[in-house]
Amino acid sequence: MSEHHEEYLDLCAAYALGVIDEVGQRRLEEHLAHGCSICEAALADFSSAAVAIASTAAPAKPSPRLRERVLAAARSQPRAPSLRRRPAFVQVVLAAASIALLATTVTMWQRVERMTAERDATRVQLEEIARELEDSKRIERLLASPDTDCFDLAATGTVDTTLSARACFDRSSGGAVLVFHGATPPSGHDYELWVLHGDHPVSLGIVRADASGRALTHLDAIASPVTVTAFAVSLEPAGGSTAPGPSGPVIRVAALEG
């Protein structure tokens, strides 16, 4: 079972409306491949709602010829050998075995579905491993850079929290790695990471921790690294701030020297 986050529900909504992007779709499918009853239920609900939107279109009828055109086109592209084209004796044999054949077909269908799902899940895992390996190499290069500074994000004292955070930032390339411990927000909340350019905050996303509360955020290139003045973490409602900046208390911060 994959851990559920509110963010996945946004992806479910985008999926049902057909506006999900490639990255989002891959993330959602990976999440669903591990099983998530909350998202499966949400997808069913959202898909039904999308059907409702479709049914608000004004009634329209196609010409009666369309049905025949569709069936004729299908006939010209047979998906499987047609029983009608087989010799009569074969039809007799197949008819006698029809119940077994039907059962086999259903079983095969389910098996193919299962194998396809397993193959897709394996492919996703391999891609994930490759991505993680590549990511590790990039982090290694970043940490080895002479321009990289490492520092802790200090507690502001606004909220009593177990969260600790340390950042390594290369101002020349904009690369950054942040490591979090104790990143277990109160129920219904998320920790959100921010970078400040002067006084202007830009969200770097929700801090996604594992079950032990550890998280690692790697950013290849923060835009305009020379104007970065601080990193900060705020406590936000689940899903993150809907405002342009933090909407909840800032609980960790590190100001950088200019």
Partner: protein, 185 residues
Amino acid sequence: MTDVTRDLDCLRRIAAGDEAGLSELYDRYIGLIFPMAVKIVGDNAHAEDVVQEVWMQVWRSAPSYDPKRGPVAAWLLTITRSRALDVYRSRSARAKREDVVAKESVESGHDPGAAINGARKRDLVRRAFAALEPKKREVLELAYWHGLSQSEIAVRVGAPLGTVKSWMRQGLRDLRASLPEGEWW
């Protein structure tokens, strides 16, 4: 046999090359997908081309349907919407489409008898959709009928991306909550 099991049975038969399965599914859903195609591409002739492509895709890719991703109706509509938006974008039919949308908005009380499951359900859905908060309704319309991404919608309505995502999710949830449980279509 419920509608859901009947749909799945049709798809299994289609996957096995059974034309009758395709015929049955066509009859069940043409009343839902054709109006959608017309609304997006703007006229019946192009909508018929779209619908023919949709059924050919169903014929070829029935084995790839995954019930966990939503009901068969939603799958058919996703294919239809995608094909129709492709045609719409490629043939600059915006003016025609706007005409259709505008015409619909002033004819909202006309006879919906051609809808797949009758006038009552259609009116129910229309009322539920109209009752949504305006911002939620707007983002759903921009996404579904105009094919705009969440980022494009955020720019169009002048709201933060996170807010647009939230409206979209809540709009779908509110709409679903206002419809009967189970297989309402």
